[in-house]
Amino acid sequence: MERSEFNNGLRAGLSIAIGYFPVALTFGLLAKTTGLSLFEATAMSIFVFAGAAQYISLSLITAGVDPFLIVMNTFIVNIRHFLMTASLNEKMQPAPKPVKAAYAFGVTDETFSVIATSKQEKVSSGHAFGVIVIAYGSWVVFTALGHVIGANLPLFLQAAMSIALYALFIALLVPSMEGNRKVVLLASVAAILHCIFYYTELLSTGWAILASTLLSSVLIELLYVKYGRALIPVIEKEES
């Protein structure tokens, strides 16, 4: 593993680590109020490493839902990562399967977005490991810390920190949107579709994210294949 690649990854992942801080802290705090011990709460962050699914599992545990259904729910919420790792595979430099199987564990919405929107043509395994290690470390450490001290944090700060992940998503999206109509279309169509699924209650959150992402990606791609260059004068300049 190239040392400098790994270090670059750590630097790229630092914003995730900071974004995870409030989310993991809140998770630790909620886990405590749900009745999980420090050990149990931290173990979930160590072995599952999936923010949304972990939050949902807490509310399901509180509601006394059958553990098997909680596992099923986790699967549905996280199946979107299948799309992400399939997409990521196109972006990654070739590497032995065990190496890929190892960093696959750390592919979350956030690590994926940072790696996949990287300026590099192809991303090295070392870079991916860097991004993942710092994000994962933050997630685990601050889950534990949240369990220990979370409740002592001032309320206004707890509230403000709940925006962190969305701010991170917006920060990832905006630079790619500028001068690139396709990216704007992809994000807007997916957002609108997700809103439709959400407000009509047609699909649960996990499926809704999966369906809106896939539909938007397919529709826009077909649109561009059909009408091709007429739609993308600005993008071509960007890609060359």
Partner: protein, 102 residues
Amino acid sequence: MGPTYWWMLFGMALVTYIPRMIPLTILDGKKLPPLVTGILSNIPYAVLGALIFPAVFYVQEGNIFFGLIGAVTAFLIAIFGFGLMTVVLGTIGVLAIYSLFM
């Protein structure tokens, strides 16, 4: 919580890892048609749109403006070319001030 919790955790870990692992290993090396790779390269941008909306409106229960102010703040900081960390910390700062006075 007891042993049931640990079985559940094991199940959760497994069903989370499998969808992350399969495309990178088992499906790796398969030549994909250009349409499929085109679609796959669209996914990062589409998924960000779907992750942000509508969830950002509901970061604070019962107060849509909280998330809205956060989203607009993040958007403005980002569009002026600031890095990820500035966007995240700046947005938290603005909302902290908002929460303090509301």
